[in-house]
């Protein structure tokens, strides 16, 4: 609790940081915006790819005119797969699915998870136990099984996959939110707000959400990456986006057998998958730091 600030002194005017910490703060701030910019650039590239795919594709997704396993070249930038379809086209449509899967799942996970988590944190006694147990069961429930149930009830579409992944992630997000909120609730400033007659609704909006946001946003970014990967897995099992909408996961799976002869088929979606996940995590890191007034310093 004791601060290492040497200016922890008796002066009644706010302390002004001395020059050495000021300089390092500037450096840290620069690093931070660097993180955010890199993240935006990397993830933005893939989002751009996805957006362009709506307007223009090098080939039709089901065009098999390229010949089997053509190497990368002028006609086919990344070559073709074993059915002769253009790989770059597939990567582009795949990016669309990846972004949709990530955003959709995280949106569901955030809405349902935060609501459940906040409720569970406020609840006491049996209600807290019940909500926690519910979240635990949902966590223990395999995403795959959940997805199969949803697909059985609806159909094998991208939306079904997103719904299954989003619900499964809600439980994880809910658990995290519950702990975060409990920690904030134990702070004295919450008691101070209560003894000032602040309503719980205002406490939640004004104190709790702003204080759990940094950790939450990082967690959601992590979930985004996991959702993209999970969708890839479900697609492989035929529980995700149906062909010819190749998702990156499906492409990876298909290219597995021909990896030694035509590595581009696996490398392209693999690298983009990694880039997207890294990009989103960099954005989350950058956001968290920019949102923290203590790390941000004054007037920035």
């Amino acid at each position: 609790m004791t601060s290492a600030n040497p200016l922890e002194s008796t002066a009644s005017t706010p302390s002004t940081p001395s020059t050495a910490p000021e300089a390092s703060a500037v450096k840290r701030r620069a690093n931070r915006s660097y993180t955010l910019i890199t993240g935006c650039a990397v993830a933005g590239l893939i989002v751009l790819l996805a957006l362009v795919s709506f307007l223009w594709l090098p080939y039709a997704p089901d065009d098999t005119s390229g010949g089997r396993l053509a190497p990368p070249g002028a006609d086919h930038l990344l070559g073709t797969d074993k059915l002769g379809r253009d790989l770059f086209t597939q990567v582009m449509t795949g990016s669309r699915i990846a972004v949709e899967a990530g955003l959709g799942s995280v949106l569901i996970a955030a809405t349902v998870g935060v609501t459940l988590g906040v409720l569970a944190a406020f609840a006491q006694g049996w209600l807290d136990d019940t909500l926690s147990a519910f979240l635990d069961i949902l966590i223990a429930f395999p995403t795959l099984l959940l997805a199969m149930l949803i697909v059985a009830a609806r159909s094998a579409t991208l939306e079904s996959a997103i719904l299954a992944i989003g619900l499964a992630q809600s439980a994880v997000v809910g658990r995290v939110v519950r702990v975060l909120v409990k920690r904030v609730l134990a702070q004295d400033y919450i008691t101070a707000a209560r003894t000032s007659g602040t309503s719980w609704l205002r406490i939640t909006a004004g104190h709790i959400l702003p204080n759990i946001w940094p950790t939450l946003v990082v967690n959601l970014a992590l979930q985004f990456g996991l959702a993209v990967l999970a969708e890839a897995g479900l697609s492989y099992l035929g529980l995700g986006a149906p062909p010819p909408n190749a998702s990156w996961g499906g492409m990876l799976q298909e290219a597995q057998s021909t990896f030694t002869t035509a590595p581009a088929g696996a490398l392209a979606p693999g690298i983009l998958l990694v880039l997207l996940v890294i990009g989103v995590n960099l954005i989350a890191d950058g956001l968290r730091d920019t949102l923290d007034p203590a790390a941000r310093g004054r007037g920035v």
Partner: protein
């Protein structure tokens, strides 16, 4: 030969801030030095540096010599040999200093077994003796308890027993009574005083509380912003501080205390 010598000890963070700045001090065997300062003065870091226990991201330069052996620049392995044997430390918060999942007896048995090579019944007897020597009532019951099952004062006594287990020549106490109630603090200070005298240990007592330091130490070193402000006999410093900062410290303490004088003795 001095048990502890610091020559120009400087502690810096990796981002270039200086937390302790050119501190020198010497401690003879059996001597008791109080290190006093407010938060951020670097007093706790200094005590950690003596055992090479600085947190990650901080580097010490200058020389720390403990019982003739250099600490700065020593390998972790050499340091492990020094800790406990030459010097041991007691921290402010005994609850975090003890492993919450291990019974008290086993925690004390650890260093005893390692240092003295004791086993079985001999070890168990040594544990009981260690707890007895810090005046814990019913040492056998305490040995079987988990840290959360005993009171704060008792936990601090256990921490003290652990520190004394290997009969160090220097005891470092970092705000050992700050987290305790006033009555418990008084008891612990008396105990500490007795133990240090009986064993002829040197004591480095770190605290923000001048009155507490005055009770236990012979000499004090006042620190501020990582530098030594003033050093001398306790009575001298308290009675006639030379430096402005020390004067402010003493006056503040006196000012609060005077409230007690006005009221009492009616």
């Amino acid at each position: 030969m001095n048990i502890l010598e610091l020559h120009d000890l400087t502690i810096r963070t990796t981002d270039g801030r200086t937390l302790v700045d050119g501190l020198s001090l010497a401690l003879a065997p059996g001597e008791r030095l109080g290190l006093i300062g407010e938060s951020g003065s670097g007093k706790s870091l200094t005590s950690l540096a003596v055992l090479g226990l600085l947190p990650a991201g901080m580097t010490a330069s200058g020389r720390v010599v403990l019982a003739g052996a250099p600490i700065t620049g020593a390998s972790e392995r050499e340091l492990t040999g020094v800790r406990g044997r030459d010097a041991a430390i007691v921290f402010q918060e005994p609850l975090t200093a003890l492993d919450p999942l291990m019974r008290v007896g086993r925690q004390i048995a650890g260093p005893l077994g390692r240092r003295r090579g004791l086993k079985g019944t001999a070890l168990r007897q040594a544990v009981t003796a260690a707890l007895e020597q810090v005046r814990l009532p019913d040492p056998e019951r305490v040995a079987r308890a988990f840290p959360h099952e005993i009171s704060g004062g008792q936990r601090q006594r256990v921490a003290l027993a652990m520190a004394l287990a290997c009969e160090p020549k220097l005891l470092i106490a970092d705000e050992p009574t700050t987290a305790l109630d006033v009555t418990v603090q008084a008891e612990l200070l008396t105990l500490l005083d007795t133990l240090v005298r009986e064993r002829d240990m040197a004591l480095l007592f770190v605290s923000h509380d001048l009155a507490v330091v005055a009770k236990i130490a012979d000499r004090v070193l006042v620190m501020r912003n990582g530098r030594a402000v003033e050093t001398g006999e306790v009575r001298e410093i308290v009675g006639a501080p030379r430096e402005e900062y020390t004067r402010e410290l003493v006056n503040s303490a006196r000012r609060l205390e005077s409230a007690l004088d006005l009221r009492s003795g009616r």
